[in-house]
Symmetry: D2
Subunit: 343 residues, 4 copies
């Protein structure tokens, strides 16, 4: 039995993590931590867990927790994980960080976009970007896994084969992404109130959203050249789901068959990527760890429109984190992550 | 391996049934039938099942299907099941009917409320009303299980202990129920269009909804006297969930402790009823087979307000149907039905 | 031109009030006040008003404001209005209070349900309960109008004719009400976040909601005897609207025609009550000052089910407040309040 | 009094038209027509109009209707208007067509995208594209006004100043648009059912949507060169609203001030375009005839992101149609179209 702690268990990603872990028969939950709700039952905060996960929430004292845990999930706002993690801790334990602190390989880029000092820059090099479809081999042996962001997972996987195979003009990429409200977290903000987001759609973080450099980092690595994109997130009146609509000009001479081959080469055999004949809808992946991907070519303009859909809390957060744990600990990668959306 | 057929697989209850069955490791799916979509892939109708359930839908030829099936689920409009089922079929096979045809023990009541002739009245007596918390013993040996309606499951379980233990004046019962839109089915009707139900709430079927006699039948049996109720269903702009708010006058002298005892005596040990300290919300049971029940006593008026919440497609349809199959075939009653709602 | 101030302009009821007043051609807006946002433009808080109402929000200094205002609307949490209003102020000005402080005629009842001391009990007697369909004559000459609550408006109007005409057993009344989320206000509370209320329905304030004594006060007056009811509010995942489903036993011998007559006698000629042949749906009155009312008789049980629907922010708050102003200042009662809902 | 007929009164755009016209004090409604519901009261189909618009729906016999009507609005599926309208009719009457038949100046383009023969190609030349901000002068004297599509209105107005002033590379334009469900109409289709669109987002009509050539026609005219764009519509789980997020590369040397000037030159003084300092959200324009427009420049990539928001049924259909009537008949352009969204 692998012993698992969750720090930040009462956010939306954290609670989804508890949910997935509670049906994983290879682990046991050693600690659920929440600074805001320490001392109260988890099921008091999330009554849906009543009679299933009634354990008492603890303060996030990472040393004490590490004592009897093999893996520690961090589901915290950026800037906190980098203060909690140390090289000592990583010697014996595996840390899977759902936050942003260890995703960007370049400390200056992190500090410029997040407008804060990085608290443990010496650990950045040892972190692996936890996108299994791209970095599975490294994830297997890593002790510090930087779980990708939600928008980034969805957008990178939709575009990766096109850049890996050199099929698009990388300077023409536009990613227009749409997310459900759970992506904004459980903070007590007016902007997240039902009456402020329901029955409306808006763009936000235009030309300035922090997931931009993360997408660029991975696409640049795939392309073997620096890639700069325009990324625009939108808020959709629904709870879960991200749809990334990605635009780029095909390179001259590229044919539909080349595109088809590129996607298949990258994803055939992947347990959680589905190259779907149907245009993706977020409802098709709701509550699952799938990313559905499809594309269309606009012959009138020479553009490809590649579309990816995920559940932002699963493949975009908790599900992918467990997928990473499964890889790192030698479990079947699918364990606790199977399931299909209905309505 | 138990061999399982689903007739009416492409309605909302049918597809939820396919979903639950596809993660049940004691059965195999022998046939998925759909009159409307015969010849097409199930995953074409429900792309969320792409790569998971791609089998081709068949016509509902029950004889052919029965050949290599041990259990046949019927998820059909009322009036059709009673024409399909025969005593020959029931000799060797188990039929679990999610429709209304075999729920009412009194043929005349059925015909009066459903305004149609019953097509196999001789089978009614052999049918068991498939509410495990009340009829588990009979379900075990039955070959014809009438799976309860969604409103009825939710309302009966909320009121049953009060009548079983004689704590309320049965002539004062009012059930005000609220349902998500999936309860109305997948029919191409203007009334079910997004723009007709979103951002609105309405009562419908006032003093005339067909689930009324079904609730009355079971409550009368519990009370040992004829019970007549007023039942009002409402449509709520959400996909899943039923909340039944049930009102009745407590009998003179009844104390809160009597009520508490009655609920515990009826439901302690039940795998899918949770006597919750929290007021039920449908989101707490979304995607699960639980019914959460809680109550409050209005000391100013002497009324009890008992509230139950279910997912109408799970405990109110497909989940309860699988629970019944698990009981009838000796599986662990929880198999394929565990899980917790997050958000 | 009547000069009008709004204190508490940035809550949902307050902003709806600004909206209605901004299309009223008999008034001019003298002051918009908001303690939370003083010094900022109204249209910064509500960008939908950009270019239409860009005035700067002021602190709620009622004396200064009264100087050049004829009528002052208060849209404040309970307990604040009673501290702001004084008999001096009321000598020259009209105050229309959208809060609860002056609705209950009995100070002790107020203090028991609101768990706070009343700060100007001497003014209670001079306040008029601002439900035009019942108290129009008194509203005409009042200087302190207590605008009714949202649930109460909807429920009282649905039941009033039945009690006024002595058609129901008053001890059997149950009101099961459903409200959109805007009724909970614009507070930064987790309970009001999109992800906490969307796709779910719940009861709250069971047997303890503060609108109970307000409904009882008015129904008692109509009946000429003390009426006690059970009132249960529910939260619905929509922005606006209240549906009150009201149950009561008809008195022996009462016929459908008696009921019909009672409703018509009370409401024929009323500009904002529609006795509809259709079962009310909140969408039919969204954005309007109408209450739609319909009823059905359950002959099996002898109960009447009377259903009312309003827009909680209009007839349940800002619209009724303007209706009261129109009456008090001799405007056409319909002014600025006409309009029909589409979808 | 101008006498007005509406053919196709019971669709969503048609009913919104009836709503707006019913508060227009310069006109009288002569006929409401609906092929599907002829003989029934309008308020039976839309009970929100009960007691306000109870007239009986008529068959769409355009000759009879024209007799006593000055202006005829057509809110019909494409292909029908072109069969109804004739040059005789247009001699004496004004026709405002909310459908697509007379929007495209090139018959072949129409027939290629709509896959149907045009039934009155000889009238195309006399039709004016009814976008007042661009064609106001021609609208004034036209007898055949082709009211623009919803996506097109929103997208053209957001991009028009950039092309008119030559500020962007026209080959780099991508329009990613998001629409509420009312845009799909009131047809009895599974795809429009609540449970099929709620809690999900999807792209559709990728690289093939019929509003593409309409946008291109107007942008080409503004640019003075042929413009080809990639246009992708998305369906959002809300009733009303369109947000168009438009991407293009700024021409070399273009500065933010040039962009600012271009927008102001085009729209200052326009009654229904608001150049907003706030990023547009569809809720800010819900129920109004405004288009809110804002833009941001992505200095890292040289792209401009121009964002427009409208209510698809108002500025995107019925409101703009009435705006066109106001212009053509010399009313104040704002008449019956003022108002602000609240929540």
């Amino acid at each position: 039995m692998v012993s698992v702690a969750v720090i930040g268990a009462t956010g939306y990603a954290g609670s989804e993590l508890v949910n997935i872990l509670s049906r994983h028969d290879g682990i046991r939950l050693s600690h659920l931590c929440s600074h805001s709700y320490a001392g109260r039952k988890f099921s008091e905060i999330y009554p849906s867990f009543f009679s299933r996960v009634d354990s008492v929430l603890e303060e996030d004292d990472i040393k004490r927790i590490a004592d009897d845990s093999d893996v520690i999930f961090l589901a915290l706002p950026h800037g906190i994980a980098s203060a909690l993690v140390s090289s000592e801790l990583l010697k014996e334990k595996v840390v899977i960080d759902l936050g942003a602190d260890f995703r960007l390989k370049d400390k200056d880029t992190y500090e410029a976009w997040y407008k804060t000092e990085h608290r443990s820059p010496e650990l950045i090099a040892s972190a692996v970007y936890g996108l299994p479809e791209v970095h599975r081999k490294d994830i297997r042996k890593s002790h510090l896994i930087a779980n990708p962001g939600c928008y980034t997972t969805c957008s990178i996987l939709a575009l990766y084969p096109l850049l890996k195979h050199g099929l698009i003009e990388s300077s023409t990429i536009v990613v227009d992404a749409k997310s459900g409200v759970s992506g904004a977290g459980r903070g007590e903000k007016i902007a997240n109130l039902f009456c402020e987001v329901n029955e409306s759609v808006k763009a936000y973080g235009v030309a300035s959203h922090r997931h931009t450099p993360e997408i660029e980092q991975e696409l640049s690595a795939a392309a073997g050249e620096e890639v700069r994109i325009t990324f625009t997130p939108h808020l959709i009146p629904m709870q879960r789901g991200i749809l990334s609509t990605c635009y780029a000009m095909l390179k001259s001479g590229v044919k539909e068959a080349d595109v088809e081959d590129a996607y298949h080469e990258c994803y055939d055999g992947e347990p959680f990527v589905r190259l779907s004949p149907y245009l993706p809808e977020t409802r098709f992946v709701k509550g699952t760890n799938y990313e559905d991907i499809s594309y269309r070519i606009d012959n009138r303009t020479g553009r490809i429109i590649a579309i990816g859909a995920i559940d932002n809390l699963i493949k975009g957060a908790a599900g992918q984190a467990v997928q990473n744990m499964n890889i790192a600990f030698g479990f079947d990668e699918r364990k606790a992550l199977e399931g299909v959306a209905v309505i």
